[in-house]
């Protein structure tokens, strides 16, 4: 079968890193990702089934891997070669459709007793992601044994499947996995109680979905958001942001909203109690610490890497930075409903056949300036590239 395969080739990884820094997405052309004919992955055990991807999204974490930006932290929790793709809507052998819940927790690895996190239902915190009868892999799409969504066939544990009703289109269903990340973040916020004002940094896929999820799941008085491009601003507004501003304007807006004073260098003396960083870059985290209130919290939803931050403000103002990774099964149940209710299918901007993967990845890596949000591979028969915006 045809599959995109990411192999451990250091020289190519370095080349991808250089190319990716010069031009986002270029790592696909020179790096270790190649379209190959490979055997379908074998079923690892009894409770495993074959899933034939229909649509598979390209995620920010995929792009970081392909462009050689991702942290070495991941090395022990992935296994090579792997087929990327964890945002997957696929068809099962019984002809029904399912969305993949990609976390490879204890159950999928045949580990008993379950680790403390899995026993508590927090599968995203699983402590055994490099152990059990599967090779290491934090998720399907990063594990040698499971295959991934960027192929014609992969395998999934039955616990990883979320049935898709007929009324939900493939295009909507492929948005469920990233929406589950956003729902997880929103439920984390909801657990903190009612928020007078929240600032969401970033209006890419994750930022936009987080805005929608916060409106649906949390109690937020004023929801601020940053967006670089006109389509991002329009979508953020339509999904429920009360005010959408350019990134450089956020500090002034938060200052105005909270009546804060400003110190030399731009640090606010007050701010919003919660900032949700859906970018995870050094710049976005620095900004988050500038606009979060003393005693407030920065929830990092976008995947960060190596960053240099001045944490004096964190110490002096007793602010907190908290990670927010992935999801649990209940998040997927909510995400499926949210995708349908909020019409999140509209965030899927373009699809490509696997054969045009370099174009697809470049498009995804430059989605903002090209007026796009989510880009996905279309694995359905006779799939052609098409822009949906």
């Amino acid at each position: 079968m045809k599959a995109l395969l990411f192999e451990r080739k250091v020289a190519k990884y370095v080349a991808a890193s250089v190319a990716g820094r010069l031009s986002p997405g270029k790592g696909a052309s020179v790096g270790p990702l190649k379209l190959k004919d490979i055997d379908e992955p074998e079923l690892p055990g009894e409770d495993w089934v074959r899933l034939r991807p229909l649509l598979a999204g390209i995620c920010g974490s995929d792009l970081a891997t392909i462009d050689g930006h991702s942290s070495r932290y991941f090395e022990p929790i992935v296994s090579f070669p792997f087929t990327p793709g964890h945002e997957v809507i696929g068809r099962l052998n019984d002809d029904t459709r399912a969305v993949l819940i990609p976390v490879l927790s204890c159950v999928t690895r045949g580990i008993t007793p379950l680790c403390r996190a899995c026993a508590a239902g927090r599968t995203n915190h699983c402590g055994r992601i490099a152990f059990g009868h599967l090779e290491p892999g934090l998720q399907s799409g990063y594990c040698e044994n499971t295959g991934g969504g960027w192929s014609a066939s992969m395998v999934a544990h039955t616990s990883q499947l979320l049935a898709v009703p007929d009324a939900i289109s493939d295009e909507a269903a492929v948005m469920v996995e990233p929406t589950a990340c956003a729902v997880h973040a929103a439920r984390t916020v909801a657990a903190m109680g009612s928020q007078e004002a929240v600032a969401v940094i970033g209006a890419g896929t994750l930022g936009l979905l987080t805005i929608a999820a916060l409106k649906a799941e949390a109690s937020v008085g004023t929801l601020l958001a940053t967006g670089k491009y006109p389509h991002q601003k329009a979508l953020a507004t339509s999904l429920g942001a009360d005010q959408v501003v350019a990134p450089r304007e956020l500090g002034r807006v938060v200052r105005s909203l909270t009546g804060a004073f400003v110190l030399d260098g731009g640090q606010l003396t007050d701010g919003v109690d919660l900032v949700v960083d859906c970018v995870g870059s050094e710049a976005s985290l620095t900004q988050a610490l500038q606009v979060v209130a003393p005693g407030g919290e920065v929830l990092v939803v976008g995947m960060p890497g190596h960053t240099a931050l001045d944490l004096t403000t964190l110490w002096h103002r007793e602010t907190a930075i908290r990670g927010c990774y992935a999801y649990t099964r209940p998040d997927f149940d909510q995400a499926l409903a949210l995708v349908a209710n909020a019409g999140l299918e509209r965030l899927l901007s373009a699809t490509y056949p696997l054969a045009r993967y370099t174009e697809a990845i470049e498009h995804a890596a430059t989605a903002g300036p090209r007026g796009a949000v989510k880009v996905a591979f279309d694995l359905r028969p006779a799939a052609k590239a098409r822009a949906r915006t």
């Binding site: 501003v245 304007e249 002034r252 807006v253 200052r255 105005s256 400003v262």
Partner: protein
Amino acid sequence: MPRPGFVLDVDKSTPPILFHHGEGFRLEKLPAGRSRVIYPGEPLDALDDVESAIADALANPMDMAPLKDLLTPGMKLTIAFDDVSLPLPPMKRPDIRQRVIEQVLDLAASAGVDDVHLIAALALHRRMTENELRHAVGDRVYDAFAPQGALYNHDAEDPDNLAFLGTTPHGEEVEINKRAAESDLLIYVNINIVSMDGGHKSTATGLASYRSIKHHHNVHTMEHSTSFMDRHNSELHHSNWRMGKVIADAGVKVFQIETTINNDTFGQDGPMSVLAKREWEWSAKDRVSFIGMQQGLKRLSSPTRRKIFQSHRAPYGVTSVQAGAIEPVHEKTLQHCFDQHIVEVEGQTDILTLGLPYICPYNVNSIMNPILVMCLGLGYFFNMYRGKPLVREGGVLIMTHPTPWEFHPVHHPSYIDFFEQVLADTTDPKIIEAKWEKQFAEDEWYRHLYRTSYAYHGVHPFYMWYWGSHALKHLGKVIIVGGDNRAVARLGFKSASTLNDAFEMAEDVVGPQPTITHLKNPPILMADVK
């Protein structure tokens, strides 16, 4: 004998007309047969002896006793004076305020008055710097009073130094500077550059607090001020006059000194002098001078151009000084203003064109940001009429100005937020007023910057927007030629690259072959539209 202003009907022989364009200029050919240009009057003759005129006004005031008779030992005397927003551009030294204040202080000293305070009546404008205060009152006065803390800027946010004097029958609260209110005599020294200035507005606005000013600086008042340059048809002035009565009834005794200046804005020689000349009268030297100035300006960076323009000091001549009771003094002042500014114009026009210069009341030594562009065009210049607006209802206003997305971070901090937040939300003055004004007006940071730095009050950009609300309601479209497209769009206006493009765009609103009127200001003129 100076020639009065007049209306030129444009024909094929009419040369291109000079349009101001921020810190630059444009020469624009207007369509023949349907365009006209309103030219300001030449500078009226200045008083030969300003010092004697001041002395005479103080000795022979209108409806009040001579000033020397009002000054007694042990009295508390406050002299308030107009701030840096007047005149425009600033006048060459000595400033008329200095000349008046020096004579007043000489009289006070002769009378043994030693409790004297001088206050810059800046309302919600930014504080004046030491250099600006020195320019206004002169070094001698500054050095005698400022070190002792007796010369300072009015602080409209100082609760300990404001006095509530009462409420008008319309429910307008009157709260002014406490020192002024509690003085035995308040002397107000004014410069009436346009007919909007002066009268009761000097004290009722210049020395007031936000609590008081908000009663007339609002959308309703501005929409019912037709125009605010015509005090008898201006709700802005009606409100200030009602407040003036409250101030008088509270026992505040005001000795008003008003002055007028002529149109000698650009001088009779030097490169700027060509700006005051009528284009068909330009000599070969004028043309060379203008071309040289244009080419020189093009080579300069924007900050350098700004610095050059902002350093210009106008050689205005003083045309009158009158003193005494506020109302008779102001009526006479208005007559002097109108003598210089009024040009009779027959009928309205489909399209009004304006060339906006580099300066307005709120960017002296500063940056003309997009909100100020709006205010200068739709506020001040649109309202330079008596009778009815120059442009018909539903007509189009075309302005030339680079309209940079640029703000002075010290002077205009709340403007930046207004531009980025409020105008991104809506440009409707009524919605802006209802939804946003309170937040900005009561923002402690803006209040801090207004009181301790050199920032306009947090609410000030709202007033700039309200200043244009009458025009916004009246016009069918506003087009800015040569502006920053993003900034113009944020203002809610349309951009055009050339004046001809703007005319084509305007035809969508006013139809083909529209009539066009160009208000050639500055130097200042005011249209009396029949």
